[in-house]
């Protein structure tokens, strides 16, 4: 551990305080307080204090009373009482009510204090891990709920569509009609495939660790152009990229690619139909450790009322085009992992601009 553990000791006798500090200052970062008011000031200033030692017998307030009082406001630090044999009843009841972690007999010896700190710290770490895991679990549950709900629509929808089409096809004899139906079935299959590959992105961007390496934005932009050339040429969309990267930039290449792939796919997908000047522009500039990325299109645009919610899981702003409602959610999740941010501005019927800012790692 690079940083010293923070320990707070409260006692009304100054000699005890200075003795405590002198004994443990090399091992730990010691805060001392002669009364509980001063102790609370320390706790407010240093929320990362791990272990609190408090003398039981103090004028005005006992140690047990003090611990009971601070338990709600400062639940995390481990509370240890220092007490003499005569206070054993109060101590036992305090332990039983969960107000203190353990007690140390007075006069204390150095080894007792050190072992109490080490044990208390282990407990503290386990507790905080539990809190973090709990929060993660809660989020996972919420997302699972949304998935369960969406599976019936987003996975089952295209499937029942295909089933229905097969049923209709059985009654058809006109080859032209059958071919129209096949095109629609193909679209449904693509939709399913799209859904499943965004699922894959979702899990790799959520659960995976970041792999930080040098990023060559020129290379990434070229690759994007190559990958999407077939779509941009068949749909007569001009796709321009400009990159200005005078300095090195470090980040996770896979996450950046996932983010850009989603945004470029959207820019292609949501172009206006029957429009002659379809354009997508990708502009990347790196300056002072920040990459600013602009992706603009001449598409159908997004109503301003939907700017916030488009990044939510399964949110769809239009019914006119195929989409799973996961893409932009993944984009935001990916950027969050990279410490970046995304902004959208759009004019309905004119186009949309996404602005990304990503710091170098």
């Amino acid at each position: 551990m690079s940083e010293k553990l923070k320990i707070l000791y409260i006692d009304d006798e100054l000699d005890n305080l200075t003795g405590f500090k002198a004994n443990f200052r090399t091992e730990y970062r010691i805060f001392i307080a002669e009364n509980t008011v001063h102790a609370i000031e320390h706790l407010q200033k240093h929320p990362d204090i791990r272990v609190i030692f408090c003398d039981q017998r103090m004028p005005g307030k006992t140690g047990v009373e003090f611990f009971e009082e601070i338990r709600t406001a400062f639940p995390l630090p481990i509370r240890i009482l220092i007490t003499a044999y005569t206070d054993i009843e109060a101590t036992i009841s305090a332990i039983n009510r969960g107000n203190i972690f353990r007690y140390i007999r007075k006069p204390w010896i150095q080894q007792d204090i050190i072992s109490a700190i080490e044990e208390g710290n282990k407990f503290y770490i386990a507790n905080s891990m539990l809190a973090i895991k709990n929060e993660e679990l809660q989020q996972a549950y919420t997302e699972l709920d949304k998935f369960a709900y969406s599976v019936s629509h987003d996975l089952r929808g295209p499937l029942t569509g295909i089933l229905g089409a097969i049923d209709v096809a059985k009654e058809m004899s006109d080859i032209k009609e059958l071919k129209d139906l096949l095109v629609l079935m193909e679209k449904s299959v693509f939709k399913l495939e799209d859904y499943i590959s965004s699922m894959h992105d979702y899990y790799s961007s959520r659960r995976g660790e970041l792999k930080i390496a040098d990023i060559d934005f020129d290379h990434i932009a070229e690759e994007l152009k190559d990958v999407y050339r077939i779509y941009t040429t068949t749909n007569k969309i001009s796709f321009e990229t400009t990159v200005n990267q005078p300095e090195p930039f470090r980040s996770d290449e896979l996450v950046i690619k996932m983010v850009l792939n989603n945004l470029v796919t959207n820019a292609i997908k949501y172009q206006k139909r029957n429009f002659d000047n379809k354009k997508i522009e990708l502009n990347i500039s790196v300056y002072d450790g920040l990459a600013t990325i602009l992706i603009s299109d001449t598409g159908i645009g997004i109503p301003e009322t939907h700017f916030e919610e488009i990044f939510n899981l399964f949110s769809r702003a239009t019914s006119q085009r195929a989409g799973s409602g996961i893409g932009l959610y993944n984009v935001k999740g990916g950027l969050l992992k990279l410490g970046g941010s995304i902004d959208v501005s759009s004019v309905l019927g004119e186009g949309t601009v996404f602005k990304l800012i990503i710091p170098s790692k």
Binding site: S152, G157, T160, G161, I162, A165, V168, L184, S188
Partner: protein, 143 residues
Amino acid sequence: MGLSFVIIENLEIDLYIADKLIKMTMGDNVPIETFMSAETALDHIVSAKLKKAERVIILLDLMMPRLNGADFITLFETLPGRITNHYQIVIVTSSMNKAELDRLVKKKHVETVIAKPLTQEKLKAVLDQIQINTNGKKARSGE
């Protein structure tokens, strides 16, 4: 008898199937209006000029972005009776949310629910049922 259909469905393939199945069941000449969003369908319903005895069957999908099927029904119910009395709603959905479907099918203008995929059999059964409810006689069009 003036009978026509309105299909409200955001999935292209389901829209195509519903259109096809109605034609296969009722004949190619039956008037059908199709809408990929509930908003535009509602606009159409508000402004449509219908003759006195005209009946319109709405095939309504539930899970649609923006205005969904349930909200469509809520808005539809606020329209004056001289408009809504022409319409009977048939919900066509892949939703398995039974509580929600039970709630919707109790609505005045909702006749029944069909589970996707829509087939000719299901459509015929529902049309038979509707015509019994409203005319007291079976109409077996298209057979």
